[in-house]
């Protein structure tokens, strides 16, 4: 069975890039794409994805606020943040403290996405 992925990014170009990368992988199916944090929460409730790929900096509701709410709704939610704002001690560190599984820095290669998702589900199957 394919793992369901929810993409959250205010950039339509970035969302398309992620969709294209995931389309090359048999194990994943993109079930939805949200353009901000608030929409992501609504879609999380209805689509119940296995993993969320979410940008940190977004208008309306940013990725950190959305991450907090999603983890309140589902403490076992798997959320991977995507950011160009590298730097532990900043929003990246905050995302990890809040409970994000990992952070991928932009610009990314498709191999980075493959490897992070693979490890998330590998560690999940070991538990």
């Amino acid at each position: 069975m394919k793992h369901k992925v929810l993409i959250v990014d205010d950039s339509a170009a970035l969302a398309r890039q992620l969709q294209n990368v995931l389309a090359e992988m048999d194990e994943y199916e993109v079930v939805g794409s949200a353009a901000d944090g608030a929409q992501a929460i609504k879609m999380y409730k209805t689509l119940n994805p296995d993993v969320v790929l979410m940008d940190i900096v977004m208008p309306m509701m940013d990725g950190l606020q959305s991450l907090r709410t999603i983890l309140k709704l589902d403490a076992s939610a798997k959320v991977v943040m995507i950011s160009s704002l590298g730097g532990v001690g900043s929003k990246v560190e905050e995302a990890l403290r809040l409970g994000a599984q990992n952070v991928i820095s932009k610009p990314f290669d498709k191999e980075q996405i493959y490897s992070v998702l693979k490890k998330i589900f590998e560690s999940d199957s070991r538990q």
Partner: protein, 297 residues
């Protein structure tokens, strides 16, 4: 891969877990004394003076020591001695992970080698900035990373000329500006505000979009192509923030926005323009900065 801290690199590669990283960072925070605290501890400045320097740092993007000298609280020799003490006693992340038993010597050595190899691609090279503008460190980092990201993300080589200040109310090449199909601006704050402005012709915009989305963008909507250019600017400026954070600067960026036309120099703002050469198409990079701190862009 963008500019990263070593810890992010390690968790992205799953060499360590998120919790191990956070534990190691906590140990670093506990052991590594901040400049101001160390200066107070050594009796070079008072608590009150340290507080004044911290307050000043909110409006002036200088390191604690440089500001303390400027404010007459410390001598340059005292700053040097604190920096030496910090350097000698600093606990690096790798050492912290080793001490906590989260990594072994050989893995640390291997990962540091990979990390340095990866980060070399985006290593800092200085781009000269004309004198007389606030936030020159931001401008220099933006230009360097614009060049590198055009290659890394857009697959294009661009050549930069010398940056220069545009005369007051001069658009700096009006006929070229009209050929710029997409104009994007990103506000950056590092002490003083600076605006990064990128203009590209339609062929360059489509090429950037094609490379970002991973498919030919020729038939994609104008909105998607424009969005891709905004995202490109976001990557440039996000990586600028990451690079400057590594150098000890506190930098914040706002989401990119599209512009109708290029801004001009006026009484309080200056425009710095960098001539850019590309094999085909048009690229224009400018910065809107301040003559004097305190004015708004």
């Amino acid at each position: 891969m963008g500019i990263q801290f070593f810890g992010e690199f390690l968790i992205e590669r799953w060499v360590i877990t998120r919790d191990q990283l956070l534990e190691a960072v906590e140990l670093q925070e506990y052991r590594n004394t901040r400049f101001g605290d160390m200066a107070v501890e050594k009796g070079f400045i008072t608590q009150q003076q340290a507080k004044q320097v911290n307050e000043r740092q909110r409006v002036e993007d200088l390191r604690f020591g440089d500001l303390a000298v400027q404010m007459g609280f410390m001598t340059k020799d005292q700053v040097r001695s604190i920096l030496t003490m910090q350097k000698n006693n600093h606990l690096f992340l790798g050492e912290s992970l080793l001490e906590l038993g989260h990594i072994t010597d050989d893995i640390l050595e291997r990962e540091l080698e990979f990390f340095e190899e990866e980060q070399k691609k985006l290593a800092d090279s200085n781009v000269p900035v004309p004198e007389g503008i606030d936030g020159s460190h931001v401008v220099s980092a933006c230009m360097d990373l614009t060049r590198k990201m055009f290659l890394r993300v857009g697959g294009m080589i661009i050549k930069l000329g010398d940056g220069h200040l545009l005369p007051k109310n001069d658009n700096g090449n009006v006929e070229q500006s009209s050929d710029l199909h997409v104009l994007v601006s990103v506000p950056i704050v590092s002490g003083v505000p600076v605006r990064y402005i990128l203009g590209v012709s339609s062929d360059i915009a489509v090429q950037l979009a094609s490379n970002i989305i991973g498919q030919d963008a020729t038939r994609e909507s104008e909105a998607l192509v424009e969005d891709a250019v905004r995202e490109f600017c976001n990557m440039v400026c996000g990586n600028v923030a990451a690079r400057l954070a590594k150098q000890g600067f506190d930098v914040d960026i706002a989401p990119p926005e599209s512009l109708e036309k290029m801004p001009v120099s006026d009484d309080v703002r200056v425009v710095v323009k960098y001539p850019v050469r590309v094999t085909s198409g048009l690229v224009d990079v400018r910065f809107l900065a301040l003559h004097a701190a305190g004015a708004e862009t």
